[in-house]
């Protein structure tokens, strides 16, 4: 079987392991164009078909959306440039290796496992998104906004088929999917824009001057759908800022930005924010508003039929490809993260198990319906690791404490880093349960709490430096 090629599998793993445990050499640094391309592609994905419509469902007003996205995305770009990129070009190593130096091998392993679990759920939601488009020719009953469990045998079968295909491809054909995803990214953003522009007349927009009144009264009306909470300007701003919290202040993008010649390349993240987190979210919101108009305010929530309604077969294909090209690398990364437990485990076997878990998760529509909350939780859980890195790089040496303490002290598990992670999340949970601070907002105080906790914990556990 051509796909099951042992040599290519080894090559693939070798490629993934490139400079995994050493700084990227000067000769391998990349120019700003590749970062613009990477960010634009990564942030125009299957999730965009869900997030834009969910803003509509949560009753965001047009002005809250426009200003919230502008400010939130701007803040996200600043975080990428001034925090992630600055540390990345200073260290030039992966997040995982940096965490190992600070927290020890076991700490990094724990991070990997948590990350893998979260990746499974993210990939699961994208399998479900693809399934909504695959099910169109079979007249599949689609899930609704308030669904938690699978609503039909047809849904279960469709998800199982999409999950199986995604898993098999992730096991044996990751390189081809990555190449295909690169080809598809510009086309996807064109479909988003084209579909939204074409449906505007149906919503009553026939000239540019019509757009704003229609946006306020028919698209982002400010009235949430039945059973949905009300989102304000602050929800939009904080969601746009922190939906990629794991990547910027959580420092996961160190693995990417360590290849940047200058820290200013972190501003290339603006390409992803403008195309994916602005234009695509606005466009998918417009498509959903039209869907609601046609279906008389139904609570059915299925990106496939929404895109098919607006752009025909090309729209449905876009949902399938967007979901699939997002789910596939996510599944593959989850497999690699789990494999970190034991390097002797075969990648394809690990990916098979991870794919099974992911597909089971995808059966539950709640994963799609609660995607905003899940994305916020995902960032929040991984954020303390980034705060630890920030404190370790900038604060500990200035306070007379040792940075990269696990490496210096020969520790496999740095209690200060672990305690910071656990206590930060407990404090965030307490803020949520006791004071009703929503999950979208706890990340900001959480980051400062994590920084302070790590400094204090390091002060307590570090032994004096040998002179």
């Amino acid at each position: 079987m051509a796909l099951f090629n042992r040599k290519s599998l080894v090559d693939k793993l070798d490629a993934v392991n490139e400079f995994e445990r050493e700084p990227v050499p000067e000769s391998k640094l990349k120019g700003w164009k590749s970062f613009f391309g990477t960010y634009a592609g990564e942030h125009t994905a299957g999730t965009e078909f869900v997030i834009g419509p969910l803003f509509v469902a949560h009753g965001v007003t047009a002005s809250d959306l426009v200003w919230g996205l502008l400010i939130g995305n701007f803040l996200a770009v600043l975080c990428w440039a001034y925090l992630t990129a600055k540390i990345s070009v200073r260290k030039r190593i992966t997040l995982y290796y940096q965490l190992e130096k600070i927290g020890g091998k076991n700490f990094a392993l724990g991070y990997n496992l948590v990350n893998a679990g979260l990746f499974c759920f993210l990939a699961g939601s994208m399998i479900a998104v693809s399934a909504t488009a695959v099910g169109i020719p079979f007249d599949l009953p689609m899930p609704t906004l308030n669904d938690i469990y699978p609503n039909s045998v047809g849904w279960v079968l469709t998800v199982l088929v999409v999950g199986a295909v995604t898993t098999v491809v992730a096991m044996f054909g990751f390189d081809q999917v990555a190449r295909f995803a690169n080809l598809a990214a510009p086309w996807m953003i064109m479909i988003f824009i084209a579909a939204a522009v074409a449906v505007l007349p149906e919503l009553g927009v026939t000239s540019l001057s019509d757009f704003w009144p229609v946006a306020e009264t028919k698209i982002w009306t400010g009235v949430p759908l039945e059973g949905q909470s009300k989102f304000t300007f602050w929800h939009v701003t904080f969601f746009a800022w922190f939906c990629n919290m794991a990547m910027h202040i959580g420092m996961a993008d160190m693995s990417l930005l360590r290849y940047a010649k200058k820290w200013q390349y972190g501003f290339a993240s603006s390409a992803g924010m403008v195309l994916g987190h602005y234009i695509a979210w606005v466009a998918s919101g417009i498509l959903y508003a039209l869907f609601l108009q046609h279906a008389a305010n139904t609570t059915e929530f299925a990106p496939g039929p929404v895109a098919y309604n607006a752009a025909g077969v090309a729209g449905a294909l876009c949902v399938i490809i967007a979901g699939w090209t997002t789910a596939n690398p996510t599944l593959y990364r989850a497999g690699l993260a789990v494999q970190a437990i034991n390097a002797k485990w075969k990648t394809w076997k690990v990916t098979l198990v991870v794919g099974l878990v992911t597909t089971i998760a995808a059966l539950f529509p709640a994963l799609v319906m609660k995607l905003l909350e899940f994305v916020a939780l995902y960032g929040l859980i991984l954020m303390p690791a980034g705060a630890v890195i920030f404190a370790d790089v900038y604060l500990l040496p200035r306070l007379g404490l040792q940075d990269e303490y696990a490496e210096r002290a020969g520790l496999r598990f740095n209690t200060a880093a672990a305690a910071t992670w656990v206590l930060t999340l407990l404090v965030c949970l307490w803020l949520n349960l006791s004071f009703g601070v929503e999950i979208f907002f706890v990340g900001l105080p959480g980051w400062f709490i994590a920084v302070v906790l790590y400094v204090v914990a390091s002060r307590i556990i570090q032994k004096p430096r040998a002179v």
């Binding site: 190449r179 690169n182 080809l183 598809a184 086309w187 064109m190 479909i191 824009i193 084209a194 579909a195 522009v197 074409a198 505007l200 007349p201 149906e202 927009v205 026939t206 752009a311 025909g312 077969v313 090309a314 729209g315 294909l317």
Partner: protein, 40 residues
């Protein structure tokens, strides 16, 4: 063929069904030709 027809629909010089057909043809055209002209 993917994006231009949409603006023609907006300008009300093309029907939605024609637009959907052209978007599909544009999609096929993109994936057939892109591997040859897009850089890796």
């Amino acid at each position: 063929m993917t994006i231009v027809p949409a603006f023609l629909v907006f300008a009300q010089v093309m029907s939605m069904s024609q637009n959907k057909l052209l978007m599909f043809i544009g999609t096929v055209g993109w994936f057939v030709t892109a591997p040859f002209w897009m850089k890796k």
